[in-house]
Symmetry: C2
Subunit: 355 residues, 2 copies
DNA sequence: GTTAGCACTTAGACCTTTTGAGTGCTAAAA
DNA sequence: TTTTAGCACTCAAAAGGTCTAAGTGCTAAC
């Protein structure tokens, strides 16, 4: 190898093979990998001495590191990144896994929310890592209001949102309702509260509306509240974890200090929303270690955004140690999000035989 | 003391005082408490020897135990139970805490769900334990169906439920909608799907409805699906935790084995629903240790059900080590659930000055 | 370019010793 | 009869020391 060794530079085929074997073995066993192991178990056809030389160079190039002098090598972030980007053999989902995924999706033809959440549970079980379900914040406003009178004290407020959904809220009034006063109220809402965020509603707006309502002024407050609720709820985001206890299975998280760091991170759900907002859509994203994110070292976050009509509405992913079974996780997440997107867009579920 | 010592029997005033001091101290420090400590810090006006004698008797009676011969004493479940039931001085919420609670409740005049969840967050912060928010399963059926046509391909299905709520679902159809076919569909729903759980809908029902709809048979399926979603969602229950990382602060959970047990328990949300269903309503319930529940030893669960119209709709509580600041937790949970029940029932929020 | 061999390093396992907190018991004091 | 001082005893946890095994880097031979 002429010339100096470049940090992160190109690798010979042999180096690639050794690096890949080290990472595979480390992912499987969780311990530093030594040269001897590679000769006997990974069947690299060179002596341990040769491998040691290669490993020393891989270390100098930044792909490996040693926890201490007399230990084997462990992959660095750079090592994992390389592995993910180029070395990994794409894991083929087993028939059993595909069936499990399809069954889940079929049985739970329900709300988007519960689909995502069930998918998340399944991912946790299939991969044995903590899974993450994210429902993204949607900034919605109301395009138009209409109504339906339920009885003399209740009417239904129907709001078409900017996202072309329909939200409804039941409004209770302590005065008698009739077509007359409710329709007046609704046209006021259509005048003042269309394409407007809840923060834009000022007290003076409310006063104006109340004076316009005359004797039925008491209807304004509950109506505004219903409007507020509908829009505020929509703009609520949501990050949920499943299988948090699986983290404890991995030795890298088995001391309390590490755990504290990890848990306070998981608690900080905004960080996950942040990462989602900075991610690439329509592909599986992989965050590793702490150079790339403000995550705890030794950990990685793999997820794929869910998009509908070009808008990111959420994500499903996996959180775990950076020595993670990347190919399995990536293919599971990929498969599932594809299917979910299909369901959301109204396509029928394909039979499990496919693939 | 004439006669033999009775297990769990009555206690002299001095024993009570000593027991209480031991538990107070143990709650504060998390370590076994020795006789010397009680003399110097808890200001028990007897010598350490006397206290040792009393402690030996309290141990024999089942209120205390020793982790090992040369250690201090630790309360047993029986000890904690006694403490909770009779010794504890009711903790007075500080003004700051009351203000925080009230502000939270005021700012978030929204969905019940989000109220409970925010309350839960607050409880976790105020008490420094993991908080638990439970939304109970509601078994609901639909009392009557009505509709509102949105455009030529969408209508709104409005369902009055057995719980006197109104649920709505937007239904999309690929055939043209008009007053005629939608109203026919709705009257079929009123004939076949009233007071019925989703499981009662059989395939033959669907076939019957489809043949009755004639040319518009394709409307039946999306309508049934909407009905199913609405009722299934309502019957979904929900257990959420906040501040799980706080558990790590307590030494009793600081070894990985203990943590595994605790986390797999938290994962098992049905257990919490179970406990809720077996709890006493309208008061704060305290589960301690493992004699009383299938909880991990060293842990306790304190919660209060939320009831509306005599039905339990959820609960707010705290999960933590059995050495828990019972009085603080109990008064926080009590206060908050009272207020939330008030809000749900439509009462106005009282001013923070009260109390 | 590859490999065998060897000196060197070091975390972790294992053992022993020391320390100190806390007890139970006995005999004296109140 | 109740309380207390004093003392011998116990035991977990900390501290220290030794040993082992895994794994390395380097040199010299192939």
């Amino acid at each position: 190898m002429a010339g100096g060794i470049i940090y992160g530079g190109p690798l010979s085929e042999r180096k690639k093979r050794i690096l890949r074997s080290i990472i595979d073995a480390h992912i499987a066993m969780g311990e530093p990998i030594g040269s001897k192991y590679l000769v006997t178990s990974a069947e690299i056809p060179f002596s341990s001495a040769t491998i040691r030389n290669e490993m020393a160079e891989l270390e100098e190039m930044g792909y490996l590191e040693q926890p201490h002098t007399s230990a084997g090598r462990v992959p660095t972030q750079l090592g994992y990144r390389f592995y993910v980007d180029s070395l990994m053999e794409s894991y083929k989902l087993t028939a059993a896994e595909i069936v499990a995924l399809n069954n889940m999706l079929k049985s739970k033809i329900g709300e988007l929310d519960s689909i995502i959440q069930n998918a998340s549970k399944l991912v946790a079980n299939l991969t044995n890592y903590t899974s993450v379900a994210i429902k993204a914040r949607e900034k919605e406003t109301v395009r138009s209001f209409s109504y339906m009178i339920l009885d003399e004290h209740n009417f239904l407020m129907v709001m078409k949102t900017s996202g072309d959904k329909v939200k409804t809220k039941q409004v209770h009034a302590d005065i008698l309702l009739d077509e007359n006063n409710v329709s007046r109220l609704i046209s006021l809402l259509n005048a003042y509260c269309v394409n407007v965020t809840p923060d834009d509603i000022t007290y003076s707006t409310i006063v104006k509306m109340e004076s316009a309502m005359g004797g039925a002024a008491r209807l304004v407050n509950p109506a505004i509240k219903a409007f507020y609720d509908a829009v505020a709820t929509a703009s609520d985001s949501n990050v949920r974890f499943e299988g948090v206890n699986k983290l404890l299975e991995y030795p890298e998280f088995s001391n309390v200090e590490q755990l504290k760091r990890v848990f306070s991170m998981l608690e900080n759900k905004d960080d996950f929303l942040d990462i989602l907002s900075r991610s690439e859509r329509d592909k599986v994203n992989v965050f590793i270690g702490d150079g790339e994110n403000n995550f705890a070292t030794n950990s990685a976050f793999i997820f794929r955004p869910l998009t509908v009509d070009g808008k990111v509405i959420g994500a499903i992913g996996v959180f775990g140690p950076s020595r993670m079974d990347y190919s399995k996780v990536i293919s599971t997440v990929e498969y599932l999000t594809q299917k979910i997107t299909g369901i959301i867009e109204g396509r029928a579920l394909p039979e499990p035989e496919e693939e």
